[in-house]
Amino acid sequence: MNQELLTPLLILSAFLFFTGVYGFVTRRNMISMLMSAELMLNSANINFVAFNKFLYPGKLDGMFFTLFIITIAAAEAALAIAIIIHVYRQTKSIDVKDADQLI
């Protein structure tokens, strides 16, 4: 199997991850932060798939993990948006700076 494709994939995933981190830390909008979190999760997905594909070709563990992560990400997105809506109702804003109280 062609191992050379692994490194670019890892670079891609690292790039995605740090884009996510950067977005999560700098964006004030909670929806944008949620999207950044999704980027980080997906970078992890890429890692799982890549390692599974290139290092343990006969197995499917990495794929399963990816499926789980996608499911959890969906659930988490629903939950996060619910929280964001709730915060919006309380503070009339979705800026994370305004949500510094445990109301």
């Binding site: 830390v25 994370v96 700076k97 949500a99 510094d100």
Partner: protein, 636 residues
């Protein structure tokens, strides 16, 4: 009807129960009802104790009265050698004491019915009297020295409560605190003595302690010698310190005169007849042990002699009638103490009998004198002799009763005090003539100051401006006490109470009694000259002997001495540095710790500000740090 053991339990238990009932019910109980509860309870105890002592004295074991244990069950088992049990015992002196305590307590409670009428906290007064009586009865019946110590402290507490009964008066509060602290201080010695003695004998039971020393197992070398005396001797000295504190021996006597701030019947019960002789009782209980140690006996003798003489000298110049009686109590307890002390010498063993004989007669005539003083104070509303004088017309019965008490304490035959004092002097003569000399002087002084008091109260002024009156409620218990005060001397005491337990015969030596009675009569005559009619003799002699007079009226400056001692030893050497350490090191350390914690909290709380993205940054930094650490560890 009752077995002796049940009776022995009931005697102290009834007053204790009544203390609980009267004390808890408090004001909800009508005054007269709580008084009758107290009096009825003590009457029951008196009947039980009379029955118990009659049955005890009618059944000698092989002709001797021995320590008889009713029951004893283990209470605290600390280790193989340190066990504390609870039990009751009977021996001649405890049987004697229960009868004395119950009868005096009964008379005092009866007297208080009139004396304390209308008093606020009347019910509590009876509750405290019951508590005191119960603890005192428990003390004399205790089967082991530790149980005795518990009751010892209980009588101290009830004495404290009763001295401070008028707690609105600052002087009463001060007196109650003084009494408690001084006796507690002495009890520290007692406790250490108990521990040392039980270390030596491996038991706390009186029976065990007496057997240990009787069996000849005792070897002073085994447990060590300190300053050329054995451990057991030191233990006995420390126990005697406790006894001296309770019995107000010099120099620990300072609390007793001040304790007169309490109600007068209390002084009659606690500070004349019962509690203050607890020290004599304690030494008497351990007498077979004490008599093995010549040095300790000498100490007891001379402390007793010193107390009896100094107290008698002080009593001459006091003007508060209760204080005169308090000092005379001190003096008489001094007699009992040195009678025990001289009984260590061969040939003078009857000093033990004499001591308890005097305790017995003294309890009656001194409580009679105190109750009479109470009746006088009740009528005159003052303690000072200046406010009295010429009272014999207003109070004829009290006058005769007081005279009986004075004659008894002065040792005039055939009153009770004559017999007991005679016995003491005889044994002092047999043992140490020097002690006898002091005792003779003391008995002259006793007669002088008692009759000085008597004449100042009832004669001196031809007519008095006070409108005193008598009341039968006060006179009747006194009349009952006057009977034993006159006739108690005819009790064949030595056939019941002796140091060995074997009955003995004592005879009155008529030739011997000439000197003591003569000295007593001389004292009475002098008092007659000085005080029967108002004249200038007392002032003249006071200025002639001004040095001695000042010493006497200043009470030999013992209070000042103690104050100086405790100011230097306690306040300056101990309390001031301790307060400095507490304020600066302990408090300062705590305060510094609190301040630092507060500062740290101020800084730390900035981290937790609710800003989500800051948290993420900290989290990331943590992760990065961990990764770096891991990389470094892999590298190395």
């Amino acid at each position: 009807m009752f077995t002796p053991a049940t009776e022995a339990i009931l005697i102290p238990l009834i007053p204790f129960l009544l203390f609980g009932i009267i004390g808890l019910a408090g004001r909800r109980l009508p005054e007269i009802f709580s008084a009758f509860l107290g009096i009825g309870g003590i009457l029951a105890s008196l009947l039980f104790s009379l029955h118990l002592s009659v049955s005890y004295f009618s059944e000698p074991v092989q002709g001797a009265f021995v320590l008889k244990e009713f029951f004893s069950f283990p209470w605290l088992n600390f280790s193989e050698n340190l066990k504390i049990s609870i039990g009751l015992v009977a021996d001649p002196i405890s049987m004697l004491m229960v009868v004395v305590i119950c009868s005096v307590s009964l008379m005092v409670q009866w007297f208080s019915l009139t004396y304390m009428k209308g008093e606020e906290r009347f019910q509590m007064y009876y509750a405290f009297l019951s508590l005191f009586t119960g603890s005192m009865l428990g003390l004399v019946l205790s089967s082991n020295i530790f149980q005795m110590y518990i009751f010892w402290e209980l009588v101290g507490v009830s004495s404290f409560l009763l001295i401070g009964f008028y707690f609105q008066k600052p002087s009463a509060v001060a007196a109650s605190k003084k009494a408690f602290i001084v006796t507690r201080f002495a009890d520290l010695g007692f406790l250490i003595g108990i521990l040392l003695l039980s270390y030596e004998t491996q038991t706390m039971e009186f029976k065990g302690i007496l057997d240990y020393f009787k069996s000849g197992n005792f070897n002073p070398e085994v447990s060590g010698i300190w300053m050329s005396h054995s451990l057991a001797a030191w233990a006995l000295v420390l126990i005697f310190v406790g006894a001296a504190g309770k019995s107000a021996m010099f120099p620990l006597h300072i609390w007793l005169p001040d304790a007169m701030e309490g109600p007068t019947p209390v002084s009659a019960l606690i500070h004349a007849a019962t509690m203050v002789v607890a020290g004599v009782f304690l030494v008497g209980r351990l007498f077979p042990v004490y008599s093995l140690f010549e040095g300790v006996m000498q100490l007891i003798t001379w402390i007793g002699v010193l107390s009896s003489i100094l107290a008698a000298i002080i009593a001459i110049s006091q003007t508060d009638i209760k204080r005169v009686l308090a000092y005379s109590t001190l003096s008489q307890i001094g007699y009992m103490m040195f009678a025990l002390g001289v009984a260590g010498k061969a040939g003078a063993e009857a000093g033990f009998t004499a001591s308890f004989f005097h305790l017995f007669t003294h309890a009656f005539f001194k409580s009679l004198l105190f109750l009479a003083a109470g009746a006088i104070i009740h009528a005159v509303h003052s303690n000072e002799v200046e406010n009295m004088g010429g009272l014999r017309k207003q109070m004829p019965i009290v006058h005769w009763l007081f005279l009986i008490g004075c004659l008894a304490i002065s040792g005039v035959p055939p009153f009770s005090g004559f017999f007991s004092k005679e016995e003491i002097l005889l044994n002092a003569w047999k043992s140490q003539p020097l002690v006898y000399g002091f005792a003779l002087i003391g008995s002259g002084l006793t007669a002088f100051y008692m009759f000085r008091l008597f004449f100042l109260i009832f004669y001196n002024k031809s007519h008095s401006d006070v409108h005193g009156h008598e009341s039968m409620g006060l006179n009747f218990p006194m009349l009952l006490l006057a009977i034993p005060a006159v006739f108690a001397g005819f009790v064949p005491f030595s056939s019941y109470v002796t140091s060995t337990g074997l009955p003995e015969e004592t005879h009155l030596h008529l030739m011997f009694s000439i000197a003591p009675v003569g000295v007593g009569l001389l004292g009475i005559g002098l008092a007659y000259l000085f005080y029967f009619k108002q004249n200038s003799l007392p002032e003249q002699w006071a200025s002639k002997l001004s040095g001695l007079y000042k010493l006497s009226s200043g009470k030999f400056y013992f209070d000042e001495l103690w104050r100086a001692v405790y100011q230097v030893a306690l306040i300056r050497a101990l309390a001031t540095p301790a307060a400095w350490i507490d304020k600066n090191l302990v408090d300062g350390g705590l305060r510094m710790g609190a301040e630092k914690t507060l500062r740290l909290g101020d800084r730390v709380k900035l981290i937790q500000n609710g800003k989500l993205q800051d948290y993420v940054l900290y989290f990331l930094m943590g992760i990065l740090a961990l990764i770096l650490l891991t990389l470094l560890m892999i590298q190395s």
